[in-house]
């Protein structure tokens, strides 16, 4: 059921194991394969409200497995325009497809230059290797 390990090239990554996919002025956010693997099967997603303001590097919500709680760290600042209700109802979607169906929120970016501060796939992979 769980996906196999991958870190898509078209995404940007935050060291706290969150990803961002930029589409024009908006970005879709989620957690990486490594994050979902560490947590185990997710049982709960506590999302922000639509319209809430995300601030880069600060927590915007939570995910839980049976044994752990993890803050979701915003890789970018912006206003929440959509929350993935499917993940609210079926949190395990994140484990199965962390980059596709398992997206968490979509935001309208307030400062696209923040993207420069994020890692590309290669840099994120290196970060994971160094931590081993």
């Amino acid at each position: 059921m769980a996906a196999s390990e991958s870190y898509p090239e078209d995404l940007r990554y935050h060291p706290e194991h969150d990803w961002a996919r930029v589409e024009g002025e908006e970005a879709t956010l989620g957690i990486t394969w490594y994050a979902q693997h560490s947590l185990g099967e997710l049982v709960h997603y506590e999302p922000p409200d639509v319209g809430a303001a995300l601030v880069k590097d600060t927590p915007y919500g939570e995910v839980e497995s049976v044994k752990a709680v993890s803050d979701l760290i915003a890789p970018l600042s912006g206003e929440v325009v959509a929350v993935n209700e499917r993940v609210v109802d079926e949190p395990e979607t994140v484990n199965a497809d962390p980059y596709g169906e398992g997206w968490l929120v979509r935001v309208r970016m307030s400062d696209p230059s923040e993207l420069d501060g994020l890692l590309d796939a290669a840099a994120y992979r290196k970060l994971l290797e160094d931590a081993e």
Binding site: E41, V43, H44, V66, K67
Partner: protein, 486 residues
């Protein structure tokens, strides 16, 4: 095994009530119970068999070795049960006139004096019901102290090490303080540089247990005292690991200003499957005026409850605390007297012996003598064979042992936190060590046996994900379950 509710049959009862010819008044219509609660209808023989069967599916210290770290699962002497059940204690109403409760009040007063001597401090409140409650109470005392000095607005932070038991940060939040974390260094002591960087005029207190949850005595304790008291902050001692140091080193002498004591750990109150416990606090005299009210005091040769405490933080629990727990701990301590030191020495020797037996098979993250407990890591097994601390724990059950604490403290990956206590024999320790070695071998040779353990308990591994998702938290009586929280 069936639930009591599944054994229920209409009309059965165990209850009897004396006859009485008084008329029963009517409950006003709006307040009257319309549907009776669906309590089980069961006879006494059925009830007794049910409870007995439940006990066959449970493991206590009375059953076997139970080496949970920082829980101090020592033997609970049966004489303590006998004295707690004396009618003069068991059937005593807490609001009985003090002159008719002198035995109880004297017992409490004596216990206060004893605990003060053991921890090296000046005054004690027996009110808190458990260690966690002692923690919050202690933090409230600290806040009251700083308010009295006009410093409370400034001093908003409490320093807690990363090895702390989860109750410490939770208590900090409940008491309305801000948490500041400090790291542990390679020797297992608090990182003094990190502490110096983070302690200042905004610090209210340190919360520390010493020895720590790594089972290691913090060698820098004297410097720690200088740093915190030097900054005008106070020091809180989490007494969960007191079993290591009774008669050997006292938290008051280490510089701590307030201490909670877990009566259900060091002082043998049985754990009861999750309580009751007792969490009395001992304080330096600067904090005495703020202690919870009422206090048990001695006036001449009489014992009284002192409610006249204008600077008290107030009441934290009903009456004067869990008295039945005091009886047991008092009786326990009276059996030892100054020989509590021997108790701690035996606890520390047993732990070091077991550590010596196990270190060849498991990784020891901090290579020092331990105190009453130690932490090993199963990380090597995980890397080589995919066997985790969880798997080791489950397989130990098949060998007839309760597993140690796993995945705590958080600073050690695949942690196994082991506290044997002083009441275990050498043979038991050796048998446990043998089992741990056997499991390490099984990890290499027959990993499935370990991965699928336990094989010999009433249930196999349980689906905890399903438990959360379906959230069946009571018997459904065949109805549709209430929707779980969104």
């Amino acid at each position: 095994m069936k639930l009591l509710f599944e054994k229920s049959r209409p009309g059965r009862r165990a209850f009897s009530l004396p006859a009485c010819d008084l008329p029963v008044p009517e409950v006003p219509a709006g307040l009257r119970r319309r549907q009776p609660p669906r309590l089980p209808e069961i006879s006494e023989p059925e009830l007794v068999r049910h409870v007995t069967e439940l006990t066959t599916r449970n493991f206590g210290v009375d059953t076997g070795f139970y080496p949970l770290g920082s829980c101090t699962m020592k033997h609970n002497p049966r004489v303590n049960e006998r004295v707690a059940a004396l009618p003069g204690f068991r059937d005593l109403h807490p609001l009985q006139e003090p002159e008719a409760a002198q035995g109880a009040l004297e017992l409490m007063w004596r216990l206060q004096e004893i605990l003060a001597e053991i921890v090296g401090l000046d005054a004690v409140s027996l009110q808190p019901a458990a260690g966690s409650q002692g923690e919050v109470t202690g933090l409230m005392l600290i806040r009251a102290y700083f308010e009295d000095r006009g410093e409370a607005g400034r001093r908003r932070k409490v320093v807690v090490p990363d090895t702390a038991h989860g109750t410490n940060p939770a208590s900090v939040a409940m008491a309305g303080y801000e948490l500041v974390g400090v790291e542990t260094d390679r020797r297992g002591n608090i990182d003094l540089d990190d502490v110096r960087a983070k302690v200042d005029g905004e610090t209210a207190a340190l919360m520390l247990t010493n020895p720590s949850t790594l089972g290691l005595f913090d060698e820098g304790i004297e410097e720690i005292e200088r740093i915190f008291h030097g900054a005008g902050a106070l020091m809180y001692y989490d007494g969960a690991n007191l079993n290591a140091v009774c008669g050997i080193a006292r938290p008051g002498d280490m510089g701590f200003d307030v201490v909670h004591i877990n009566l259900h750990k060091t002082f043998a109150q049985p754990h009861g499957g999750g309580g009751p416990g007792g969490g009395p606090i001992a304080v330096r005299d600067i904090l005495e005026p703020f202690l919870p009210s009422p206090q048990v005091v001695r006036v001449g040769d009489r014992f009284e409850l002192d409610h006249d405490r204008p600077r008290s933080i107030g009441r934290v629990r009903g009456f004067t605390g869990p008295f039945g727990v005091f009886v047991r701990s008092y009786a326990y301590i009276r059996a030892f007297g100054p020989e509590l030191r021997d108790m701690s020495e035996a606890a520390v020797l047993n732990a070091n012996y077991l550590l010596a037996l196990l270190r060849s098979a498991y990784e020891l993250p901090y290579d020092r003598l331990c105190m009453h407990e130690f932490v090993l890591s199963a990380r090597a097994l995980k890397r080589a064979h995919g066997i985790t601390a969880l798997d080791v724990a489950k397989r130990l059950m098949d060998y007839g042992f309760h597993p140690p604490t796993i995945y705590f403290p958080l600073v050690v990956p695949e942690a196994l936190m082991i506290e044997p206590t002083e009441t275990e024999t050498r043979e038991t320790l050796e048998a446990f060590a043998e089992a741990m070695h056997a499991i390490a071998r099984e990890a290499a040779e027959t990993p499935e046996l370990v991965k699928e353990a336990p094989h010999s308990r009433p249930v196999r591994r349980l689906d905890e994900v399903r438990a959360v998702k379906e959230l069946t938290v009571r018997y459904s009586f065949g109805e549709q379950p209430v929707a779980a929280a969104p």
